[in-house]
Amino acid sequence: MATRARQSYPALRVVSIVLMIATWALLVEFRVYRFGFIPSPSSVVRAAADYLSQKDFLLDAAASVYRVLAAWGISAVIGIPLGLLIGWKRWFRDLTFPVIELLRPIPPIAWIPAGILFFPQIELSVIFICFIGSFFPIVLNTILGVKQIDQTYFRAARCLGASDREVFRDVVARGATPSILIGLAVGMGINWMALVAAEMIAGEHGLGYMIWESYSLARYPRIVVGMIVIGIIGAGMSAVIRLIGRKLVPWQKSLIGS
């Protein structure tokens, strides 16, 4: 279909969104099945006006963004060098990769009780759980990035007298960058997921906690406000990563995607 002119109906997209919101409003209004329990669009708008003007909103958002960024930064700082070494050095791979493979199938959410147990403060537990979420995609994509480097580059660098350090910097790290960026973007997505779960179950403050608190206090429209705010901030942060990625590896636009 690449050459087939792709038609597009921009107006239809608007219609589609409007239809979705109208369906939601009608289902709630007429209490179809159990939709009577779900907050209506208008109540969500009112709750949004209320919540977004409060100081709580800024505190919750700041707490969540801080946790996500801290966890993401730590997993990048640990995961990228680890992944580069695993991809590059056979002995290191043999020593560490089986452990990563062993722990990888455990979803970050399953670490919540252990995370609470490991750390004296809830703050650190939440960051730890988010860290688990972004660590594996970052490490695995870094390894994949190194594996995908053409072997001739290594040989060429050696022939030209490059030292181990230079090979690492100019061949391994540079060659793996596009894949690392994918790992960073995927990691950010999983980070938000882990964050919401950790804040709901263990947290204090934060948008995930706000959603859960609104549920316990029966302020249901505010749940939807929280979901939308999380969605917007999460999408915004992913967009920033993609933008930075496109600046860093201009030679591989297609890899980072749109």
């Binding site: 038609q7 239809l12 939709f35 062993l102 979803p107 959603i211 979901m227 999380i230």
Partner: protein, 277 residues
């Protein structure tokens, strides 16, 4: 190589007598596999050793040692544990299958027709940035029981990767293939069945592979919150009742089940898309 050499020698009539047996291809392969296995065992043993050392450190927080975890696993009520594992697997499986049944046809339609895509896709795009876990409170409000709430969560988590990959698979097909089929007089249906679907299947399976792991993530979150059976609830209860070693048994069970189900998806892919291997 050694085999070829042997055969050449045999046809030449010169049987190598009293020569030390060369390692055949299969033995060198076996040695390589044994070495890989050895390094894996070594790495895991090192990990357990480090874990054990950390657990003996005197610190404010007590981390259960590998021995404690193993003993608590052995002294477990095995029947109940198996029941929890089966319940979680059932919830993941049902949500996953419903998601596949809804998302694959939807993705095919959207990948095929720009009209359908512009009509259906915008809400999907709007929902995507919201982490599936953030739906838990609404799901509790909407569904009368914990069972359907959890199955909805696994369904919802699995839905997005399948839909996105199906669209990518169907719309990414090379137009040459379609043109070739058309010029050979294939009908729309034949094109779909013999060109589009086989080309899209590998990517659809990538989506299914991601989806099953998201479904496991969702089931754990849902079970921890609902606290009504399943491995997630078991792990959370272990924490609440301060049976800390049991937490790690639960995590291990979740990891093993997650791993086995992704192996199952890969096996299914191997059967259905034989030509890819």
């Amino acid at each position: 190589m050694a085999k070829v050499a042997d055969r050449l020698l045999a046809t030449a009539g010169a049987t190598p007598a009293n020569e030390p047996a060369r390692p055949s291809v299969s033995t060198t392969l076996l040695i390589a596999q044994l070495r890989a296995l050895g390094s894996q065992v070594l790495a895991v043993a090192l990990f357990v050793l480090v874990w054990w050392l950390v657990s003996t450190l005197p610190s404010a927080i007590h981390i259960p040692s590998p021995v404690e975890v193993a003993t608590s696993a052995l002294s477990l009520d095995f029947r109940g544990f198996l029941g929890d594992m089966l319940l979680s697997t059932w919830r993941v499986g049902l949500g996953f299958i419903i998601a596949a049944l809804v998302a694959i046809p939807l993705g095919i339609v959207m990948g095929y027709s720009p009209l359908a895509r512009d009509l259906i896709f915008p809400p999907v795009e709007l929902f995507r940035p919201i982490p599936p876990i953030a739906w838990i409170p609404l799901a509790i409000l909407f569904f009368p029981g914990a069972e359907w709430m959890i199955i909805f969560l696994t369904f919802y988590g699995a839905f997005f990767p399948i839909v996105y990959n199906t669209i990518a698979g169907v719309s990414g097909i090379r137009s040459n293939y379609i043109c070739a089929a058309k010029s050979l007089g294939a009908s729309e249906w034949t094109i779909f069945w013999h060109v589009v679907l086989p080309a899209a299947l590998p990517i659809i399976f990538t989506g299914l592979h991601i989806a099953i792991s998201v479904a496991w993530l969702m089931v754990v979150a849902g079970e921890m919150i609902a606290n009504q059976g399943g491995v997630g609830a078991m792990t959370w209860q272990a924490y609440q009742t301060t049976q800390y070693p049991l937490i790690f048994v639960g995590m291990a069970a979740i990891g093993i089940l997650g791993y086995l189900s992704s192996v199952a998806v890969r096996l299914l892919a191997g059967i259905i898309i034989r030509w890819e291997q």
